[in-house]
Symmetry: C2
Subunit: 317 residues, 2 copies
Amino acid sequence: MTPLVDQITIIGYGLIGSSIGRAVRARGLARHVTCADISPAVCARVREMDLADAATSDLAASVRTADLVILAIPVRSYAAVAKIIAPSLKVGAIVSDAGSVKESVFRDLTAHLPNHVHIVPAHPISGSEKTGPDAGFESLFEKRWCIITPDATTNALALTTVQQMWEGMGAMTAMMPPRQHDLTLAITSHLPHLIAYTIVATATDLGKDLESEVIKYSAGGFRDFTRIAASDPVMWRDIFLANKDAVLDMLQRFNEDLTALQKAIRSNDGDMLHDVFTRTRTIRQQIIDQGQADYRSASTASPHTPPAEVQRKSGQH
Amino acid sequence: MTPLVDQITIIGYGLIGSSIGRAVRARGLARHVTCADISPAVCARVREMDLADAATSDLAASVRTADLVILAIPVRSYAAVAKIIAPSLKVGAIVSDAGSVKESVFRDLTAHLPNHVHIVPAHPISGSEKTGPDAGFESLFEKRWCIITPDATTNALALTTVQQMWEGMGAMTAMMPPRQHDLTLAITSHLPHLIAYTIVATATDLGKDLESEVIKYSAGGFRDFTRIAASDPVMWRDIFLANKDAVLDMLQRFNEDLTALQKAIRSNDGDMLHDVFTRTRTIRQQIIDQGQADYRSASTASPHTPPAEVQRKSGQH
């Protein structure tokens, strides 16, 4: 593929950042990939594994010749990092990101970056509970959605470059306003994570004896929550604080629904339980039909293999 | 393997029942496997796929020569089925089950079965959101726990037979009182399912437009809940009603913890969030270390392949 830019600088080389780096290099989307990470240990590891053409902890220096800068760091660090890189960004540079909240991102970047750069926030809906440069892999974004949240002032050429970059990495792109993104993700991602963290904490608090049994018998449902609740603590702390209003709104709705089910159990209302459990069943099939049902990981992801659930489906039901 | 019994009758030939049938036949644990299912369509399918030596919808007839009867049906059907089979059970027959609640099971079976049979309740902690005889597979119970809940009156030989049957199918067995089982499962399985059903219902209720986006962007966490919330509605209605007190108790604890996190978000208490999210992370590793982290399905389960997460682990971190 013809490179879309000469130099891309990825700030934050964890699961997402290093996966972007891997994908950009493997597909030739940029002539030069620079890793910028405040952790010297991460930079050393990146050099050791040859995951970028250059690796530095000097964020300001890392963006000096960059055509495209992608922030792949916790969202509450954006303002601080924007301040650091602002004086070094060249005229016409594009600054994008991979953060899970978009209204606050846009606000923080706009406040601190110079007018001569183009801001194009983006969010790939893909991830894992794994962290660090070792956990990334080239196909993480394949067949996954990447939401781009431009506004009326967004430069069209910069938008196209970001879009092509994600599509070049195998993602499908969608555009929506930042507010709509934040509401959608509050229910599809942020609330599920909050619930998973809560239930794992509740179980752990039941004491050391029961905790051991919780682990032993986790195959009954609990273990699915533990995977989600193993996600990066700093990243998720930042998400909940940055998307506070939408998360609290969704939590309110969730609580109302949970209270209704609780009441049905208390009053032995089997019909109500059955109704809800039947409705929720159909949505799973829709997710399978849209090819978003498989859990993506380094050992299972491949562009040549359909998701496991799709393969299985044909032999069943 | 030398057969443990001459005839086993499995009542209810869905995911669990048909998996027991498959495992018992494949490993020669009984000389004769009888499928009993009130659905003639299921019996026809069982004959078509050759999943048992005999298949009938006449439950009473199915147990007449059975040495071991296993109920693999929703727990609130136990009393009705026990009444039907009671007059036909032979002296010394063992009646066991695979239900997810044990106090109510023991009560319902004891109330309706004759004194000349041995009741040994059991619960394999293994399952899937799939249902029906086609969804079962021989290795479903391999390396999974099966909890057996005897009491002071349980016949030792009958207990050993049930234990050997499950171990013969590849399961690990544990013994505990019915009450302890019900409390443990309330937190490891029943509450997670209730929460998953709730959040999927909440998201669905957000309206048709958002629903479509909910599916599109479900890879952010939501889809893990949809798998659980696709579980059998009748089975789960029965579980919540049969284990009502324990589920409501765990739900109360969960609500307290959720309220605390909600308050932390509202008051921007990032330290509290970070603390909880860090604690919950460690439990995942313990589940991986105990080999219970993989999602078992017909296409991935194999006695010769270690769980995917275990394989992956060695290459990361």
